[in-house]
Amino acid sequence: MEMLLFWPLAVIALGASISMITQRNPVYSALFLILTLLCLAGLFLLLHAHFLAVIQIIVYAGAIMVLFLFVIMLLDIRRAEVTLSRVRLQKTLGSILVALALLLIVKTTWVLGSGAVGEMAMVKDASAIPDFGTAPALGRALFSSYVLPLELAAVLLFVALIGAIVLSKHRE
């Protein structure tokens, strides 16, 4: 059952992300990225991360991507830009490295997934923690062992807020 849901989600996520980087129009790229993020939310659900799946849809596909689309529409880029980098060395070296990494990833996944390691690294059906992945479980972790990082994240968001306002303010 999990396999039946995993493959479509994985294939759609990969296809949408490839379309994202090959589209000329940034608006289409943003829409394909949203599709990828939604597929990832589905995968989070398969991995019993219920709260994160919802957060993924609300914060990522909702807030951040709407911000992206808003900026794209605001900029109104009329000129058709060059799709590929003009730096030749970067293009050739990049292609070779990407091809090698692709080979490595596929091969590794194939070998590990079919061998004994794949059997060993199978997830259990039922989690030992009864409310694994729900908002209460995450909240308990955030407000007990991760209080300091949480406060720092709040400071980070505040600084980012000020930075964004200062940067985008129009100076006369």
Partner: protein, 100 residues
């Protein structure tokens, strides 16, 4: 059941697609979206390992990555808007003010 290795392979592939987006595209907005894609690929790894070891800590890390991604998107898009205002373009090859 899906072996955890498949989730990790998918995560690595998504990360690779993000890297190639940064390497091959010159549109600052698309480079930004590729960075978001890479962050999400890492998130998938974190969630998969959290499930494998029954640890909520992986989810906590994803929450923090989400926060950083939001902050980064806000500041980055502000930079892109400023860039566009000065240059009428978001092509990163044309941004060479600090080139030696």
């Amino acid at each position: 059941m899906v072996p955890i290795v498949y989730y990790l392979g998918l995560s690595a592939l998504l990360f690779l697609i993000g890297v190639s987006g940064v390497l091959f595209r010159r549109n600052a907005l698309i480079i930004f979206m590729s960075i978001e894609l890479m962050l999400n690929a890492v998130n998938l790894s974190f969630v998969a390992f959290a499930r494998l070891w029954d640890a909520t800590d992986g989810h906590v890390f994803v929450m923090f990555i989400l926060t950083v991604a939001a902050a980064e998107a806000a500041v980055g898009l502000a930079i892109i808007i400023t860039l566009f205002r000065h240059r009428e373009s978001v092509d990163v090859d044309e941004v060479n003010l600090m080139k030696g």
